[in-house]
């Protein structure tokens, strides 16, 4: 298992290679990039800030939860922070398993939970010169708990 939150550019190939064991016939990855458009406004860049110590802890916990759901799943997940420009990779997740189902499930679990629980905030820089913190559509009113264990 590997997880990291930091300002370093994300090397997607390296993240993918981390889960390519000879027993892993299926590898699912997710790559998040900075889009050029959000809610109708042209975006020129994005600033990601984090409560770094907690973000690392929380991402590592999510990866461990995903791995626990299916034995012999390998997972690597990295979130970048700092000033990013359009097209930059902000998050990369790779999950490898003997079979594709658990690989997809693990990859999906990590991105969904990361977006729900990891204390990272993004501020969009618009073409107009304005910047604004992104407000997620369904902000929780209480501390997010780990998702319940997944069944198959």
């Amino acid at each position: 298992m590997h997880s990291h939150v930091g300002p370093e550019p994300i090397d997607v190939a390296r993240i993918t290679e981390m889960v390519m064991r000879a027993g892993n016939g299926g590898i699912a990855t997710f790559i998040g990039t900075v889009r050029d458009f959000a809610d109708g406004s042209a975006v020129v860049g994005m600033e990601y800030s984090a409560y770094l110590q907690m973000a690392r802890k929380e991402l590592a916990a999510i990866v461990a939860e995903a791995a626990a759901a299916a034995p012999e799943t390998d997972i690597a997940a990295v979130h970048r922070i700092g000033e990013l420009t359009v097209g930059d990779v902000s998050i990369a997740i790779a999950a490898g398993h003997a079979h594709r189902g658990p690989a997809f499930d693990a990859c999906r679990y990590v991105i969904e939970e990361a977006k729900r629980r990891v204390p990272i905030w993004k501020r969009e820089h618009y073409a107009s010169g304005r910047s604004e913190w992104v407000v997620p559509p369904h902000a929780p009113t209480d501390a997010p708990a780990a998702a319940p264990p997944r069944g198959d």
Partner: protein
């Protein structure tokens, strides 16, 4: 006599902008809990939500959890990573 404790809280992102600082100190009655801190925070800035989410020592914390001056307490805006 009622005793109080001064809790230093970390602020991030929109909350840091709202308060104009990355840390602030909030006075809460003893025994201090996440719940009493959340109530006290509401009066700090009208731009904070009524009951903001709290982390204690880098973990999400529920209202019942006790806090002291020695804990690292943070107010967590709705996250928007990914």
């Amino acid at each position: 006599m009622d005793t109080t404790v001064d809790i230093t809280v970390r602020l991030f992102a929109a909350y840091a902008d709202a308060v104009g600082a990355s840390h602030t100190t909030v006075r809460v009655p003893e025994p201090a809990t996440v719940g009493t801190l959340r109530t006290a925070l509401a009066s700090l800035s009208s731009r904070l939500p009524p009951r903001p989410i709290i982390a204690v020592n880098a973990e999400y914390a529920g209202d019942e959890q006790r806090i002291t001056e020695r804990d690292e307490v943070a107010v967590i805006p709705p996250v928007s990573g990914g």
